[in-house]
Amino acid sequence: MRRDLSSILDHILDQALSRLRAGEPIPQILADHPVEADRLRPLLEAAAQLKSLDAVEMPPVALQEAQRRRFLREAAQLRSRPVSFTLLERLIGWKNPVRRRARAMLVPVIKVLLILGLVAGAAGGTAVAADASVPGDLLYSLDLALEDLQLALIVDPATQVDLQIRRLDERMEEIAQLIERGEEVDGATVARLHHHLTVCLDLIAELDAPEVTQKIERLQATVQAQMQLLSLLEKEIGNEASRQALEQAVQLMEEVQTMLEEGLEDPATFRPHLPLPVVPPIGTPVLPTLEPSVVPTIPSVVPPIEIPVLPTLEPPPPLPTPPATPPTPIIVIPQPPRTPPVPTPGSTPEPPPVPTMPTVFPTPPGGWTHPPTPTCFPSP
C-alpha cells in the first residue's frame, strides 16, 4: 500500500515537473494538486533552482567544426578501406581467431555445456552419497545398482575377484556402521556377504594356477580381518536379531577360512573340484545356493525358507462314525497302497471336505484311505 502511494506521488511529481519545465509557475501547478501541495512545493522549488545550470559554456564554433570534419573524414576512410584484411589484421585475426560475433554464437553452446556439467556434477555427488549409504538408506539400492554396473563392465576374472573382495570389505563396513548406529543387522546383509564370498570362490577357481594362490591369500587376509572385526562388533551388539546375524556371519567366515586353508595347502585340488563358474546375479539380496557337486561348499547359514506343499487328496468316502464327534482336521501324507484298515466305531471322525487341488502323487488304485489313527503322520 505504501509502495503504491509512493508510486502515485512519483507520478504526480513527474507531471508537475514537466509543467514546471514547460514554464508554468509553481503556484498554478500546486493549485491542481491541493492534497499533495505541501509535499510537492519544496521539490518543485528545488527543481526550479536547477534552471541556473541551464547555461553551458560551449566550445568555440571553430573547434566544433573541426571535430565535425574529423568525424566525417574518419567515416570516409572507413568507407574506402580495402575489403581484404591488412597484414597486421591478419596476424591479429590468427592470434584471436574467434571473433566477437562468433563468441556470441558460442554463448548458448557454453551455457548448455555448463548445464550438462552441473547435471553431471550432481549425478556424481549422488553417486558419492549413495556409496556412503548403508542398508535401510534411501540411496542404498542405488549403491548396489552402481556396484552391479561396475562389475558388469569388468571382464578380467582376476579384477573381478579384487572387486568382489572390495565389496566384502564394504559389506563389513556397512555392518559395523549399522551396529554403531544401534540399528538392526538383518539376514539380508549377511546374505550379501555370503553372495560375495560365493562369487569370489567361483571366480578364483576360474583363474590360472599362480593366480589362484595369490587370490586365495588375499581373500584369506580379508576374511581374517573381517573375523577380527566381527569379534569386536559382537561385544557392542545389544540387539538380539543383530547378534544372530553376526553369529551367522562368523560361522560363514569360519567355514570359508577352512576352505581357503585347504586351498592353500593344495591349490591343484582346490580348482578341479569347482565347476565352471556360474556367477549368480550380483547384488541380489537373495542368498545364492551352490551346486551340490561343488566341494568347497559354503554351508548355508541363513535358515532355509520352508514352503509348505500340502498334497491334497480326493475327499475320502465318509466313514461310519458317530456324527456327534466333532470333526478333526487331518493332514494326510500319502502312503504306498496298504490294506484298508477296518473302521471301528469311534475311531476316526469324518473329516471335513477339502478343496480340490492338483494332486502331487499319483492316486493308487482303489483310492486313498485314511490311516487307522487320527494322527498327522502314519504310525510306524
Binding site: 509512493s6 508510486s7 506521488l9 512519483d10 507520478h11 511529481l13 513527474d14 515537473l17 519545465r21 519544496p42 521539490l43 522549488e45 528545488a46 527543481a47 533552482q49 536547477l50 541556473s52 545550470l53 541551464d54 547555461a55 553551458v56 559554456e57 560551449m58 566550445p59 573547434l63 566544433q64 571535430q67 565535425r68 574529423r70 568525424f71 566525417l72 574518419e74 567515416a75 570516409a76 572507413l78 568507407r79 566477437r100 560475433r101
Partner: protein, 182 residues
C-alpha cells in the same frame, strides 16, 4: 528522437555520409551538454563528445553499434566516458565540477556575480547526489528528456526513474536548504 530512426540506423551501418552528418549535427550539442554538466569543464566535455562519435564509427566498423535506439546508445557511451574522465580527474586532484560559466558581454556584473554564486551552490548540491540520481536529474531537467528516454539510457524501468528523480530532488532540497538557498 529522429524520425525514421530505423532507416537512419541502417544508413549509419553503411557509413552513409548524409546520415552521419545528420547524427553529428543532431546529437553533438546534447552530448556535449551532458558531458559538461557532469564534468564542468569545456575541454573535458569536448574530448568526451569527440570520443563518443569516434566510438560510433568504431562500432559500425566492427558490426556492432546501436541496434534500435541511437540516442540512448550515444548517451550510454558518453556516460561511460564521463565516469572514466571523472576518475582520471580525481586522480589528478582536479575538482570534479568547476565554476566555468558562459559570460555574456552585456550582462550586469552585479547580477552576474549573484548568478554565479547561485550556480555554484546548485552545482555543489548536485555533486552530493548519487551517480544514478545525478544522471537522472541531468538528463531529465537539464537535457529535457522524457521519462521513457531516460529509462532507455539508464536501463532502468520508468517507475525506477521516477523514484530516483523523487529521491534526488529531496536530497537536492536538503542540501540547498542547508546552504540557505531555499
Amino acid at each position: 528522437m529522429l524520425r525514421g530512426e530505423k532507416d537512419l540506423l541502417r544508413r549509419i551501418r553503411t557509413l552513409d555520409e548524409e546520415a552521419l552528418e545528420l547524427v553529428f549535427d543532431t546529437y553533438y550539442v546534447p552530448i556535449y551538454r551532458y558531458a559538461y554538466h557532469h564534468l564542468g569543464n569545456v575541454q573535458s566535455a569536448q574530448d568526451v563528445t569527440g570520443e563518443v562519435f569516434r566510438r560510433l564509427l568504431e562500432a559500425v566498423r566492427d558490426g556492432k553499434g546501436p541496434c534500435r535506439h541511437l540516442q540512448a546508445w550515444l548517451y550510454r557511451v558518453a556516460h561511460n566516458l564521463v565516469v572514466d574522465e571523472q576518475r582520471r580527474l580525481r586522480h589528478r586532484n582536479h575538482l570534479p565540477l568547476n565554476t566555468a560559466r558562459a559570460v555574456a558581454a552585456e550582462v550586469d556584473p552585479e547580477k552576474e556575480a549573484e548568478d554565479r554564486i547561485a550556480h555554484q551552490r546548485v552545482r555543489t548540491a548536485l555533486s552530493y547526489l548519487t551517480p544514478d540520481q545525478r544522471q537522472v536529474i541531468i538528463l531529465r531537467f537539464l537535457e529535457g528528456l522524457s521519462i521513457r528516454e531516460v529509462s532507455l539510457i539508464t536501463g532502468k524501468p520508468p517507475g525506477a526513474v521516477k523514484a530516483l528523480q523523487h529521491r534526488a530532488l529531496n536530497r537536492l532540497r536538503h542540501h540547498l536548504q542547508a546552504k540557505g538557498e531555499m
